[in-house]
């Protein structure tokens, strides 16, 4: 501790101011979006514009929503290696999917209007979110660690039941479940897009309004209370925002973690790790937009690569999980060393 105090104080001056970095990220996102829309545009624009536009909008929405939710979640839990997928949203999505396919059959499931499925998914996830913080937050008495651990166990429970139901399922129907169990950006319904962009928009506005309070929360519970920002109240608000964002994003495209498993969705982890490197600050008024832009860049840029370079041979999520695993290890090991 005291020997590092001798390090020169001025050596860490920022090379680029943070606002400039945010603008840079925005330009990069716009470039990715333009590339996604324009590269290989051979069909007439009357077809391309709505077709690619819808996919692009879904990518940006999901990227932004999950990134912002992850930043808020990490501040709430004071932990940089957790992401909200820990709370079992992905597992629940697959559970509901499995249940519907099992009880109705794959053909009947395919005939359900997408709007209805979206509503069912959003509804069930909202219910889970409500359960998590109405019941558990009270039982855990504001103890975030206990809440998160309960979330993990709950996710495990849902996953186990899902696996049980999947054993009962017809092999052909199981294939349907499996193909729908990973986030897809290949077909996006415009009606759903409008619905979810509304929900995500509300979530983003709420998250932005929490930014200054989240800064205080990052000082620790005691300091936050002393400054007039008791954590219990803030945690409730923030959990609501997280549930809204993650549930709408998941209902729109499906789970971002493959099979709803894994210690955390690596996507959120990659985004926040990069955000902390590119825009190193404690201020959420910088971190939130920075993470949102990075999330958009990764999804749009990644999908662009997946479609144009790898010709859709590899699903985007698989690539993200692969890179994410590495980032996860690096973040974990670096924390140990520090």
């Amino acid at each position: 501790m005291s020997d590092t105090a001798l390090a020169p104080a001025r050596s860490r001056r920022r090379i680029l101011p943070l606002s400039l970095r945010l603008w840079g990220l925005l330009i990069l996102l716009v470039a990715c979006a333009a590339g996604y829309m324009l590269i290989g545009a051979e069909a007439p624009w009357s077809f391309l514009l709505p077709y690619r536009g819808a996919k692009l909008a879904a990518l940006v929405l999901v990227g932004v929503a999950l990134s912002v939710a992850t930043v808020v979640f990490q501040t709430l839990t004071a932990n940089r290696i957790l992401t909200p997928s820990l709370m079992g949203f992905d597992a629940l999505y697959i559970f509901v999917l499995t249940l519907m396919v099992h009880s109705l059959g794959a053909t009947a499931y395919a005939n359900i209007p997408v709007g209805l499925i979206f509503t069912i998914n959003l509804g069930s996830m909202a219910l889970l979110g409500l359960l998590l913080f109405a019941v558990l937050l009270r039982l855990a008495r504001g103890d975030m660690v206990r809440l998160v651990l309960t979330g993990i166990v709950l996710g495990l429970l849902i996953r186990s039941i899902t696996e049980f139901v999947q054993r009962l399922i017809d092999p052909n129907e199981f294939q349907t479940v499996q193909s729908l169990s990973v986030a897809r950006f290949t077909q996006v319904d415009t009606g759903l897009l409008a619905l979810s962009s509304l929900a995500i928009g509300v979530g983003l506005v709420l998250a932005w309004r929490l930014r200054l309070r989240l800064d205080v929360l990052a000082l620790g519970d005691a300091a936050a209370t002393g400054l007039g920002e008791p954590p219990a109240k803030l945690q409730r608000h923030a959990m609501l925002v997280i549930c809204l964002l993650v549930a709408s994003a998941t209902a729109l495209v499906g789970p971002m973690a493959s099979q709803g498993a894994g210690p955390s969705s690596f996507f959120g982890l990659i985004v926040t790790a990069i955000a902390h490197v590119l825009t190193p600050t404690h201020r959420h008024s910088v971190l939130l937009p920075s993470a949102a832009l990075i999330g958009g860049i990764i999804l749009v840029g990644g999908q662009l690569m997946a479609e144009r370079v790898f010709a859709l041979a590899t699903p985007l999520i698989v690539v993200i999980e692969l890179i994410g695993g590495g980032v996860f290890l690096i973040v974990l090991l670096k924390r140990r060393a520090a």
Partner: protein
């Protein structure tokens, strides 16, 4: 003044505080001392609203803990945080400016910047202002937290064992700064201390606790004695009067 009446608290069935009535006078430094497990820190954390009050009432000035708004309380009562709990990577000057939060809700104006600047100057933190909190020594960090509590501009200031893990130079340095806040700015300071000699040297008023109750209170020279040490702490130590102040020979 801080008025505590009928305050009881138990954790998992074990009583920590038993029906405490206490008035802490306005102005000066009041030190809470007593053996481990006497309930000093619990009492302080209840005043600081870090725990919910189970029975009894606490009023700080004219605000009642539990009913007054969080913002009003934050403008009346500052709590010096324990440095170990900060997870954000903060520069020292950024930490100090958080002390202005109850007044500006995270949107600092020019007078907030001026206030922080003045505090950095006064606490001798100017050369360290751009350092990250994990790059400075424990004593420097405690001084930064004291500066943060200072710019909160509250009439009352609570500190829970701020001298933990500090060497003698850092401890004396911090206590002089606290003393100065009480004398120059008229802050009412309530501090939990382990070392009785620091308490007698810097405090105006001592509150001695044992087994969740007040065992004695009063001016240091009238409170600390060999009899008290034996009765409250259960240890025989000599107490000498040096320069009108009782000193425990350890």
């Amino acid at each position: 003044m801080i008025r505590i009446s009928g305050l009881s608290h138990s954790i998992a069935g074990t009583p920590i505080l038993r029906d405490i009535d206490l008035t802490i006078p306005r102005g000066g430094i009041t030190a809470l001392i007593g053996p481990n497990g006497a309930g000093k820190s619990t009492l302080l954390s209840l005043i600081a609203r870090l725990q919910k009050i189970q029975t009894g009432t606490i009023t700080v000035g004219d605000l009642t803990i539990g009913t007054a708004s969080d913002q009003d309380l934050a403008r009346t009562l500052a709590v010096m945080a324990q440095s170990s709990h900060v997870q954000a990577r903060l520069r020292l000057s950024e930490l100090v400016s958080f002390g202005r939060y109850p007044w500006n809700r995270g949107r600092p104006g020019p007078q907030d910047h001026a206030r922080v600047e003045q505090a950095l100057e006064r606490f001798g933190l100017i050369p360290l202002r751009d350092r990250f909190l994990d790059e400075i020594s424990g004593g420097q960090r405690q001084r930064a937290f004291a500066a943060m509590a200072y710019v909160q501009d509250t009439p009352y200031l609570l500190l829970d064992e701020p001298l933990n893990n500090l060497d003698i130079a850092a401890a004396r340095d911090l206590m002089s700064l606290v003393r100065d806040m009480a004398d120059t700015d008229g802050r009412t300071v309530v501090i939990v201390l382990h070392d009785i000699n620091y308490a007698t040297a810097f405090a105006d008023h001592l509150v001695v606790m044992k087994d969740g109750a007040i065992a004695a209170q009063g001016r240091p020279d009238q409170t600390v004695s060999e009899a008290l040490l034996e009765q409250v702490f259960g240890t025989r130590a000599r107490v000498e009067i040096l320069q009108d102040r009782p000193v425990v020979l350890v």
